[in-house]
Homo-oligomer: 286 residues x 2
């Protein structure tokens, strides 16, 4: 179904950084962070009316189920980790649009709830996506802290295949995608360095123990990546050299206790600013 | 709820690369790919019985709703992209566990369906995760092709904030996390190079147009990343330099038409093999 804007009486531009305010009853006004739009040509109440109308049209276009619900999945905008899944209804989605805090409808308590209202671990929503059927929604956002009520980073830490492998399951394992799974493995290797070991240490451990070796490998792999362009090598060589750069760089990040997520946050913040603004805001290099 | 293994009569180890076969009626036997486990101490039928029993216990532990359903989210194991969301029931989950192809229950057709059974764009499941409430499931897998029936890579390509910003929405925009959003922006800059432009080109365009500049920047940024370790600079400097390495490296990947996803696939394949096996399988360097 295509959203129609017949209700809209004039073009409207909303900065992605501006919090929408409309008289939906549940708009949480955070005077520090949110600001209502003011246009030279329209009064605040006109603008609110237009926005409210656009939001209503949008809410009408969602294919709510027989209970008035749709699935809402909260996803970390930087890492892609699925944080949690709940259900949303018309009011919960309207609240999320206006407050930019992931808000759900609790089926057990028959009430709206904003993730973080008790724990303060809000999920700050940067964008919201509907699927092709308009009955499933992604809240793409940045969590203030662990999402799960257990204190886990995400609610998905029970692997079915782990359970089928072992009679006794040793601890939990988050649902991690490739980069974060590699990061987690390298962190484990770092933690194991304290324990005495027989035999030759793995390559990762050797890198973790020898800054000179690690840095020479990072410089070498970056050079090899460049040579795939300079010497017109094939695509598979480029992918392979970039994998080498990433792996060795993550070993360095692990040594420095920097998470890949922190790096992605830096990238996101840079690319949401103009180049000039961004350069000005950087700390001077030594 | 904790999974109990009281039904299991002996310890059982299943390699993550081994496809489980059990007599669930819906086990799709792919003789090329799947292999049933054979243990010296147990006959094939014993093993099948044990596995079947473990799977049944696991299926019992899922908190199915009043219609016998749970939410199932398919996620790309390399990029973290949420591919689609459907519902699963006991049979659909059992089929996914045994076939390793993401399988759902269609509420409209009241039948099981394996994503890809018509299009051949299967989602090859590497792991399955339950959430803390055991009523939401991630199928973490690798898609064979676009997941959406529209031909889109994922089903989530309608941004609510885009719709609220503009009266006319220009095309669709996938729900991309930071790295892929950056990659997409750089790809756009590359596509824009063909069009004549007034004024000074952006930094990204200058890099795209000048291999020497790009390669000197990649080498320089890799060196600066290393120096944050060698000169014991603070964590924020490491994150910032790594962001520089990533950004410049993605410009190079874009020039070579290599997707970040391909790099992550290389990393995943390396880390699922032992170091020695992996090194042997690499193409020799020039």
């Amino acid at each position: 179904m295509t959203v129609s804007y017949v209700h809209c009486i004039q073009p409207l531009r909303v900065s992605s950084k501006t919090h929408l305010c409309f008289s939906g009853g549940r708009c949480r006004e955070d005077r520090r962070k949110s600001s209502c739009l003011v246009f030279a040509s329209a009064s605040k109440s006109d603008v609110n009316l237009i926005l409210q109308s656009k939001v209503e049209v949008l809410l009408d276009s969602v294919k709510w189920d027989d209970k008035g619900l749709a699935v809402a999945i909260a996803q970390n905008v930087d890492t892609g980790a699925i944080l949690m899944q709940g259900f949303t209804n018309r009011d919960a989605l309207a609240t999320t649009i206006s407050s930019r805090k992931a808000t759900f409808y609790s089926r057990s308590r028959s009430t709206l709830w904003t993730k973080g209202e008790t724990s303060k671990n809000f999920i700050n929503v940067h964008d919201i996506f509907l699927d092709c059927d308009r009955d499933s929604i992604i809240y793409l956002g940045k969590p203030d802290g662990p999402t799960c009520h257990t204190g886990s980073e995400t609610c998905y830490y029970t692997s079915i295949f782990d359970h089928l492998k072992d009679q006794e399951v040793e601890g939990n394992r988050l649902a991690l995608t490739t980069l974060y799974s590699l990061e987690s493995t390298i962190s484990q290797r770092k933690a194991e360095l304290a324990a005495p070991e027989n035999g030759k240490p793995s390559w990762t451990k050797r890198l973790l123990l020898d800054d000179n070796l690690l840095c020479s490998k990072i410089r070498e792999e970056a050079d090899e990546l460049c040579r795939t362009l300079e010497e017109n090598e094939d695509k598979s060589r480029t992918a392979s050299e970039m994998a080498d750069v990433l792996y060795h760089a993550i070993v360095l990040l692990t040594l420095k206790n920097v998470k890949a997520e922190e790096v992605l946050e830096v990238l996101r913040q840079r690319f949401s600013k103009s180049g000039i603004e961004e350069k000005r805001s950087r700390k001077p290099k030594k």
